[in-house]
Symmetry: C2
Subunit: 288 residues, 2 copies
């Protein structure tokens, strides 16, 4: 047992899978679920993700509280929770952006900010909600923690132990660096996929196009099936880093456009070959 | 038996899988392989994709000749083949672009242009080469034929029967419409994936970024593992339609960038929700 009681705010894929993994690992005795959506909480209880539903006052008495709702709600949730936090309670989160979450936590938690451990599990699915939760979601996956100068060392150790009990490998990163990296490898691809599908769907002949779309399209656009609310929040929360990435990508596409327009066969081959080689190297490193 | 002898020019994933499927279906007696790369031809023979290696003269005596090398070579291949074509021999292709292939065929085949059936199997993989060929590659997949006014009806019927024997569903489309549709649902996504991976790989901190890339990135960029030569040829062959698509995509990304920059939460939610709904509908239609 790592903690006695865990409270999860937002019992969806991420929070529900965390709870399930910890229960199966015997790392927690009781899990409380907090949320606005009664139907989702019912599914979470029926699936055994949580033991019971709780309000802010009760959640604040838990040993550890995981925030797993969309990042845009972090400030409001922490303001509700702060007055009820018992001494020594640890708060952590699973948000895809860190600088904005840290800023919200600092403002809402005041003197208790040292008990907040910013975290981001690099796992997920285009599926969402408690019905999609599974105990092995974090098995072998990375979790990034971005502790601050004032973060209590013991709190970091506990959160690390919980994620490891869930099967994950834990690393730490500077929060701003985290946000830049994930803008590049996750947030930008999501926006690029959403934009491509939406552009096609808006056309008069969109239906005909979709009819001939195949495997390449399916994989390229899989992440366009992700939660719109979650991605709206991420895009806004990590706006600066994301705009930098969008500009870099727009510039790369403009260059590629120019290369096609000028029929520069050699330059096209160079770009495509470099991309393939980089991806193959990455895939090899993933396997090892 | 639909044809006695089949010749395949370019025995890679596409041509090799066609040959293998037809042999297993008993739709062809003998398969000849034509190509410049001796090592690939050896793999093709060892794997039973082809019965033996042939030159242009012998290939021209086959009942049906499938062109399955990169589309940029269509003109040169047909010029080599044309003098040897036996009466009644049917030529077809598996290229991802059709207008340029048709133009090349018209120029190279002259009076025999009526025996050329332009085709495009909507199947593939980021794998390539004869080692990747498999008999079930076309099972349940679409094949688009784009016959011209002068195309012999009997030739179209034979090519259709061959693809159906390989397990595919055959449809016909206007060639220009084909090229527009596939620029949108296939060629653009490939270039977008290549551009994203290459842009990242060129960075000083590219390695760090790749280290945190996960499942969403893997699927989004899977097609960036495709053959650079094949995609160089496609990009050039379908240049006009592709430039139109690139411009539409650049405009959609610019709009999205503006929406993020202006923190328009509602507009972001609208775009993401429309995209998700369109993709879910498409997935449902794929399953049915």
């Amino acid at each position: 047992m790592i903690v006695d009681t865990l409270a999860v705010v937002g019992v969806g894929l991420i929070g529900g899978s965390f709870a399930l993994a910890l229960k199966q690992a015997g790392a927690v005795r009781e899990v409380l679920g907090v949320g606005r959506n009664a139907a989702r909480l019912t599914v979470a209880r029926e699936r055994g993700l949580i033991d019971r539903v709780a309000g802010w006052a009760e959640a604040g008495q838990a040993d550890c509280i995981l925030l797993a709702m969309p990042v845009g709600e972090t400030g409001a949730v922490l303001k509700n929770l702060a007055p009820h936090l018992k001494p020594g309670a640890i708060v952590t989160d699973a948000g895809s952006t860190k600088s904005d979450v840290i800023e919200a936590a600092r403002a809402a938690l005041g003197a208790r900010f040292g008990d907040f451990v910013p975290g981001h599990p690099i796992a997920g699915s285009e599926q969402s909600g408690p019905a999609a939760a599974r105990a092995d979601l974090y098995q072998g996956k990375r979790v990034v923690l971005t502790p601050q100068a004032g973060t209590r060392v013991g709190a970091v150790a506990t959160v690390r132990a919980l994620w490891e009990a869930a099967g994950a490998q834990v690393e730490t990163l500077d929060a701003a660096q985290h946000d830049r990296i994930f803008a590049a490898v996750s947030h930008l691809p999501h926006l690029a996929a959403f934009a491509l599908v939406d552009e096609l769907a808006q056309r008069a002949d969109g239906d005909t196009c979709f009819r001939f779309a195949a495997g390449g399209f399916r994989d390229f656009t899989r992440i366009a099936g992700s939660s719109p609310e979650m991605w709206r929040d991420i895009a806004l929360a990590n706006r600066e880093a994301l705009l930098t990435e969008l500009d870099a990508y727009l510039a790369a596409l403009q260059t590629l456009r120019q290369t096609v327009a000028s029929e520069d066969a050699e330059a096209l081959l160079t770009i495509f070959s470099r991309a393939r080689a980089a991806r193959e190297l990455w895939m090899k490193q993933q396997d090892s």
